[in-house]
Amino acid sequence: MVDEEQLRETLHRRAETVEPSPNGWALVTRRIERRQRRTRTTTLSLAGGFAFAAVVVAVALVTHAIPETDQNVAAGGGRTPAFSPTTTVPFPAGPPTTVVPFDALPGQPTPGGPDDVVPPLGPTTIPGAGPDTGLTTSGFQTGTIYPETAAELERIQAQVDEGHQPWWIDPSMVASSYLSNRGLTTADAGAPQSIGEEGALRYTADGVGGWVSVGRLTSGSIYYVEGSRSDRIVQLRVARQGERLAVEVMAATGGKVVVRTKRPGSDWNPGPTQAVAAGKLTSLTVEGAAGADLIVQVRHEGDDGRVGLSEERMGAEVTSFEYEGLHDGSQLGPAWLGPVRLGMSLAEAARAAGVATITDRGGSCTTLRPAGAPAGVGFVSTAGDDRVDVITVGAPGALTGAGIGVGNTVAEVRTAYPGIEERLTLDGDGQLVYAPDDPVLGGFEMVFGMVDGRVASIWSGSAGLSSTDEICA
């Protein structure tokens, strides 16, 4: 019989066996000194950072004048407004950011057998039709959305070769020009470092984040835009069904979705519009798509007035496409990380992630992790049914729809999520718990694990997750 006295006796007996090391005080004072040094270093770094920022701003103010002049001397002008000599191209103002797919990170071995690795999903083509490379005689790909035709690309390349419009060799400015052309006027895109021949740039436009994929043929040629996606559009699938395109969209916030298509070099065709709820998959149909080379644009107009844009080119032979797999900037929501949603089976989650994954078993949990992902990123099944019921993020990269990620401060979380439930100590340790006030997402919550006043981890799961201490005990 376990009675209270027995438990008391056991605890005291066990505690008496513990004899702490005699140098405890020396270790405490060493920690205090380390903390004081760290505080001083941080202060100095901040001061240095501000000084450096001031220099950068000054240099930027000087250098920004150059491309504007170059744009204005461009001859001819393109078919779209952004190619015209008078177009103002927004300049990148954000920090340099590039996308590195999880499975492309160096030095990350993939343990586990072949069964653990799920090949990524890609565009599906009609058997025998071959991929839609669309190579022209000059080598330019026509699978681009900005500029849209090989002729246009060649014309711009010729201008750049003559010294005009040099911003076409700056991927961030090409991305910004594309966003501007699509009506996102306050866009800014990351700096061009590490882009190379192709890559993706992080941008924010009117407070909504997203990615623009860019590429170029050789190291000396201009960049073009291959596609874009908005953080607001969590999931997108487009498939040809006879004469129609079947479109499935999931948005991070409520609002409406407009789907438009165009043949390269032509005007946009009006398309269907439909109201969408946050986190809910919505289907739309676009008529007249049989066998055409189309640019498909999905525009999300949120209830808050903000616009998100996702755009892909669908070559004549391509029968379907869906969002690229999970990446290190995937959006974290109360019920999803990128394309992976709570409730998916682990196999479904692996397919949706679209990158190589590792299945790990520990405690009572089975966890699916993107191969090479930072520690702490995982899709956890705690109930033994192999369905994802907790999503964890423990490293910088993924951001919530409100722009919060690992490393943000308590104040930043409070600003992003007014009224968030706080369970913090004076040290800034503990939890901040966000429970969405939304009929669809009402059953979920996001738990921001705080250490020293900063976000150290984010968990998404069913309501009540925050009171669960050990999800894998």
Binding site: V2, G24, V451, S467
Partner: protein, 186 residues
Amino acid sequence: MAAADEQVQGDRAVGDEVDGVERAGAAVGDAVVRSAAPGSLADLYRERYVPMVRLAYLIVGSTTVAEDLVQDAFARMHRHWDTTEHPRAYLRTAVVNACRSHLRRLALERAYRRHPSAVADHMLAEADELFDALATLPSRQRAALVLRFYEDLSEADIAVALGCRPGTVKSLLHRGLGELRKVVEP
């Protein structure tokens, strides 16, 4: 030790040295704090370091980890020493929170690693049915039981330490004892 004493005391406001009794009297329900408040962090260390390490050990099950967490709690306290009204209660809450944070991280690590955790190994290595059963409880239940039956805290004080309502403490204790009985007397 003396040099360290001076260093820590030097960081403390002089005025705090004389208001210890008043601050101690304000610590309602905290049996330990009924004595005069420690004048310095070093005083608090001398008085509470060993009990706190033992408390942490009972929650996390590892002496090494317990010492690490308690030392860190002391180091954090140094920053807030001037504004901490009830140092002993603050220290205990910091230690319990650190233990729970440690267990949360451990749970996550378990989810990602194939190897059993060091704590689990440690606990399994020592045959003590009741203590081993305690280790199987969720950390909040475990902490509540340790605070009640080792620290002899009231439900109200446990609620403060765990950051929950007294009613929740009652439930945690009831469920914790129930779980222990299930394990020990199947």
